[in-house]
Symmetry: C2
Subunit: 357 residues, 2 copies
């Protein structure tokens, strides 16, 4: 197979990590950094490991500064968008005019986006909308999800990820270009289920972290509560996915179960939740994360998810009690333990509080 | 409501823990210890916390030694079987002749049982079969599952558990007698799904522990692998459940997702797997557990599950690759990491290795 030119937009942890399997497959990898990524490219150029993954970027990867976007995209066969969700809109607007020749856009960014009318959309729909608003043809979006910590991908550790697209052949095409023995890809046509799970798992990981924080504060595990949170989180993710036209089984596979598991094991959302669980106020916890330059993607995602859910489901507060409890807790609502417990424990036997998916 | 007389058979961690919600509901609780439980009853009588949960048994719980089984069962309204799976056959044979007046049998024991013909059965079916073989009427079995660590139940920590029975009204009846604000019960009529998940989660927790052991041995996380194992475990549990006539959604709820999560967080199966993951042979790991008087229920369950699966599914080795990998690893099969990785990573895009549930 002829080598392909793959341009990765975003030189953070996930963008740089994907260079490992791509380079192993012999692709020509271009890594473009945003205006926030200069210090990352500096480190790579100096021969240091990537500051976010602690893993060196493979030899042969070509680096492009933010002002060299045109060159980075010139003649590329595939583009992968790997910026934080807050940067998606700006980067797509910059890149789109130079992507007329690009058929496939991989997306590892995760989040919900609010459009100018206040409507909350899934990321692929938002991205396509940006192209359309610019009067440009949109590439086919292939979204990446599933349990995929960037530093482990960069190290070549075994990873099972999921690529989803309305066009399953597009997902398979991208997967063929990047899969290795260690980085393996399940392809699905349910991009809705995948893109519901990807940002929501960050929200629910806050609640998993809360249970860890309780354990730290009390010196004893709260594993029954944590596991009830885990199960309820999946139930709610499945309800949101099916309401939007996606499939529950996507949530109950690698994209939901697997990604929630990995996000609950470590990561910023879990750490933020653990701070609250160990007694900090939500505001103090978020300030501490900000001071440590740790973006907690689950916080804005929770607010957007509550807005989205309320627009979709008339009884959202009842059918998605955990989501709404997390929404309340991050806004400083009182007694988080009581709120979470009430949200995840079954009702009394003769009550009918909970709608089962 | 009139108080009920509830006899718990088995004074180990789970049996004694259930005394907490039962006593809180004002039931008359009788705790019967097997011939292996004398030291546990000694400790309780001496006013010490229960040795397995480190929590005192509530005041008013009456203790019965193994030779007082008739007295323990005399006039009881409900019986709960809470012995280890290896003790189920013997205890049911002893108790059955004294249970003619008992309509409901709760079961917290978890495991598969092999009958005299070598056929592997789920626990409720085995228990009913023992009554029938003795020419006695069998009570309605209500099985308990879901994420429920005994010491947290004993402490009154928030717990979401699942009671399942072919007779949903029986499950609800038992739940009404024991539910409290902290110990809440989801009732389902899919006892098959519940009883597939209950022992299988012990098996799959060995593989989750393996990933933890790798982390300990290498000093770096293998979270992508662990999460892929988690997702594949649920996929396989759902396939076994549906093949036996149960429902996938039971596995994707508290009974499967929740219970696998709690079992992967701590417990003997996870610890045993972690020993193998950190480099011990399977035999050494099991010996170390035995020396510490730690029964690893997932080991015999794995062997029985492989037998059961092979009898149910002609292509079981292909459709349940993780179960068979664990079966191989506990028998000392070489290169456990390679076996687990191969079992849980998706096939290459153009292969069709994996059957999706």
């Amino acid at each position: 197979m002829k080598n392909k030119v793959v341009t990765i937009l975003g030189a953070g942890a996930m963008g740089s990590a994907l260079a490992t399997p791509l380079a192993a497959r012999g692709q020509e990898v271009r890594l473009w950094g945003t205006w926030l990524d200069d210090h990352l490219l500096d480190a790579i150029e100096a021969g240091s490991p990537h500051p976010r993954t602690s893993v060196p970027v493979p030899d042969g990867v070509r680096l492009y500064r933010s002002d060299a976007l045109t060159e980075a995209l010139d003649g590329s066969d595939v583009v992968i968008l790997a910026v934080a969700s807050v940067g998606v809109d700006a980067v797509v607007r910059l890149a789109a005019p130079h992507m007329g020749h690009v058929r496939l856009l991989g997306v590892t960014s995760k989040g919900f986006l609010e459009d100018s009318s206040g409507k909350v959309r899934l990321l692929p729909e938002s991205i396509t909308g940006i192209f359309e608003s610019l009067g440009l043809p949109a590439p086919i979006v292939v979204a990446a999800g599933g349990p995929c910590k960037a530093n482990e991908v960069a190290l070549g550790r075994p990873t099972a990820t999921v690529y989803g697209s309305d066009d399953i052949e597009a997902a398979r095409s991208l997967a063929r270009d990047i899969e290795t023995d260690d980085y393996r890809i399940e392809t699905i046509d349910d991009i809705i289920g995948l893109e519901v799970a990807a940002p929501l798992k960050n929200v629910y990981a806050i609640a998993l972290g809360f249970a860890d924080g309780l354990e730290r504060a009390t010196g004893e595990p709260w594993h029954n509560l944590k596991s009830a949170i885990f199960a309820q989180a999946l139930r709610e993710m499945a309800l949101v996915a099916t309401t939007l036209g996606g499939r529950a089984e996507t949530v109950f596979g690698l994209a939901g179960v697997g990604d929630l598991e990995v996000t609950g094991l470590s990561g910023r959302n879990k750490v933020y939740g653990a701070r609250i669980g160990s007694g900090e106020t939500a505001a103090d916890a978020l300030n501490a994360m900000i001071l440590a330059e740790q973006t907690v993607e689950g916080v804005p995602a929770a607010t957007l998810a509550v807005t989205l859910a309320a627009s979709l489901l008339p009884e959202a507060g009842t059918t998605l009690p955990l989501l709404f409890a997390i929404g309340s807790i991050i806004e400083g609502g009182s007694d988080p333990l009581e709120q979470l417990t009430h949200a995840v424990l079954p009702a009394t036997v003769d009550a009918t509080k909970r709608v089962i998916v």
